[in-house]
């Protein structure tokens, strides 16, 4: 029993990080139709900046998360305003551009921070462990779960209770008409993209506990995000959450039960979902 609970917690905490990684990418993909391959690179930028603030400068983790999110958000904003803005509805060009940014940002981080990996970090009061059913369980992981839930609720609110999502999709359909209905689209695009990048950056700091801080995170995180989006479906927060947790839990139990097949279980889940529901568990039908 305790084995089960512990592994469940493992899975959910890892899943929350996956959710954080994928949600921003999924929003931008669903709402703006942008395949942002640089999303993982934003995560990396956030992780490094967060490390600088929280570890190097010794500020609190909260400030680190904020700084990481802001840094990634600003990089994202600059990319969107400066370049992507001219490429709406041109998926091929978007793919090449954002892929270029993976190279550029990775190399810039290498330049600025050097190539050595940073120790996983978290807040002082989150180091160490709780006692759960007679076993030690890391506090930081519980914090990740809580944080993921809070952010998830926030995003869900943003998606369903504000018109933001609908406005951005409207803008993708027909920019002119949407503006003619009194909507400042440019602003809406910028805000959505900023939020998406901000989450990526903040996730980089929160996820540092599990994924570390390195200059090759860009690609790796991108892969994880794609996997979660495939399982959960494009465009919805619920999908990213479900996909993230499902992958996390399957990964945890897979590792615990069939350790030799570790890498496999994740891909297998993905393939099975694809065969049963090609558009992901909660994806919009197409």
């Amino acid at each position: 029993m305790s084995w089960f609970v512990i592994n469940l917690l493992n899975g959910v905490s890892y899943g929350m990080v996956l959710f954080l990684i994928a949600s921003g990418m999924s929003i931008v993909l669903g709402a703006m139709g942008i395949t942002n391959l640089a999303h993982g690179a934003f995560y990396m930028v956030g992780a490094f900046v967060g490390w600088t603030v929280a570890v190097k400068l010794g500020a609190t983790l909260g400030l680190g998360i904020l700084a990481g999110g802001l840094a990634a958000g600003l990089v994202g904003l600059a990319m969107e305003r400066g370049l992507l803005r001219h490429l709406y509805k041109q998926p091929n060009e978007q793919v090449l551009l954002t892929f270029g940014f993976v190279y550029i940002l990775s190399n810039v981080c290498l330049w600025v921070w050097g190539g050595w990996p940073r120790m996983p970090f978290t807040a002082k009061f989150l180091t160490g462990s709780f006692e759960i059913m007679g076993r030690a369980y890391p506090k930081a992981r519980i914090a990740i779960i809580l944080f993921g839930l809070i952010l998830g609720v926030g995003l869900w609110w943003l998606q369903d209770r504000t018109r933001m999502g609908a406005i951005v999709r409207a803008g993708m359909d027909d920019k002119e008409t949407t503006m003619g209905l009194g909507i400042n689209l440019e602003l809406a695009f910028a805000v959505i993209f900023f939020i998406s990048s901000f989450i990526a950056g903040a996730a980089g700091v929160i996820g540092a506990q599990l994924l570390g801080v390195r200059t090759d995170l860009g690609m790796e995180v991108l892969l994880l995000a794609l996997i979660v989006i495939i399982v959960g479906g494009v465009g919805s927060i619920q999908g990213a959450l479900l996909g993230g947790i499902l992958i996390g839990v399957i990964d945890a139990f897979g590792k615990a039960l069939f350790p030799q097949m570790a890498m496999f279980t994740m891909y297998l889940t993905m393939i099975i979902v694809l065969i049963v529901r090609p558009t992901g568990l909660l994806g919009r039908k197409i």
Binding site: I167, T178, G180
Partner: protein
């Protein structure tokens, strides 16, 4: 309301200083890139009235609407709305000032549900009676039934109702309607006429672009005819009704 007829491309002087004028186009010239489409259009809509803009295909009706809402700002001339120069404002600013748009071809946003199409642009402007989702639904009950359907799955007529509802949700003071009867069954065309009348009663000013002459003449207070980018005629609807020569010459009506 003064009713005087202007000849040729002479500029309209109607209501030029009237404080009850909600919209005024003063000699606007609009281009699409190199092509010169509006050669000095002047007209006005006074508060609470319905003005019809008539003309044959390709004469510049839609372009006039686009010039007002800011999609293709005129290169010369001024557009006044509620006494403010809106000539070079961004479309969303103009819309926010109280201009509602029902574009030609409806322009329903296909990836939004009917409900989202309505709520997306909803805006409250502190009027006594405001348009809300419920009110739009009670005006067009079919929209409520289709609330969660994607916009582009509606039939043509349903889309037109949606476009009207969507514009109303922004609670405009002035409604720009570009050929609302296009593609509609004869009965619905009549219904649209009724709705326009109701909107007027509720105090809206309307600029109605139409090819359907009976509809336009039935609802409007004043009529302009545009030909090759200039206003060539204006009068009351009754007067136009009687003027067969003008109708044949500019409206291809028999």
């Amino acid at each position: 309301m003064k009713l005087n007829q202007t000849k040729g491309s002479e500029k309209s002087t109607w209501a030029s200083t009237d404080s009850s004028t909600i919209l005024k186009l003063a000699d606007i010239h609009t281009y699409y890139g190199e092509s010169y489409v509006l050669h000095g259009v002047s007209m006005a809509v006074s508060e609470g009235s319905i003005v019809a803009l008539l003309g044959r295909n390709g004469m510049g009706k839609t372009t006039s609407i686009r010039s007002i809402i800011g999609f293709t700002p005129p290169r010369a001339g001024v557009v006044w709305f509620k006494g403010k120069d809106i000539t070079n404002l961004k479309p969303y600013r103009i819309a926010k000032m109280g201009v509602g748009l029902i574009p030609q071809g409806r322009k329903i946003l296909p990836s939004l549900s009917v409900k989202e199409n309505l709520t997306m642009a909803a805006r409250r402007r502190g009027k006594a009676i405001e348009w809300t989702l419920d009110r739009v639904y009670s005006q067009f009950p079919i929209l409520e039934k289709r609330a969660y359907l994607k916009g582009d799955l509606l039939s043509g007529g349903e889309q037109q109702m949606l476009a009207v509802g969507r514009a109303l949700m922004t609670n405009p003071d002035l409604l720009l309607m570009d050929e609302p009867s296009e593609g509609l069954a004869p009965k619905i065309v009549r219904d649209i006429g009724t709705i326009i009348g109701q909107l007027k009663e509720q105090g809206l000013s309307i600029l109605l672009v139409e090819q359907n002459l009976p509809l336009a003449l039935g609802v409007s207070d004043h009529v302009f005819i545009i030909s090759k980018g200039t206003i060539v005629y204006e009068s009351s609807p009754d007067e136009l009704e009687k003027n067969e020569a003008i109708k044949v010459k500019y409206l291809c009506a028999t």
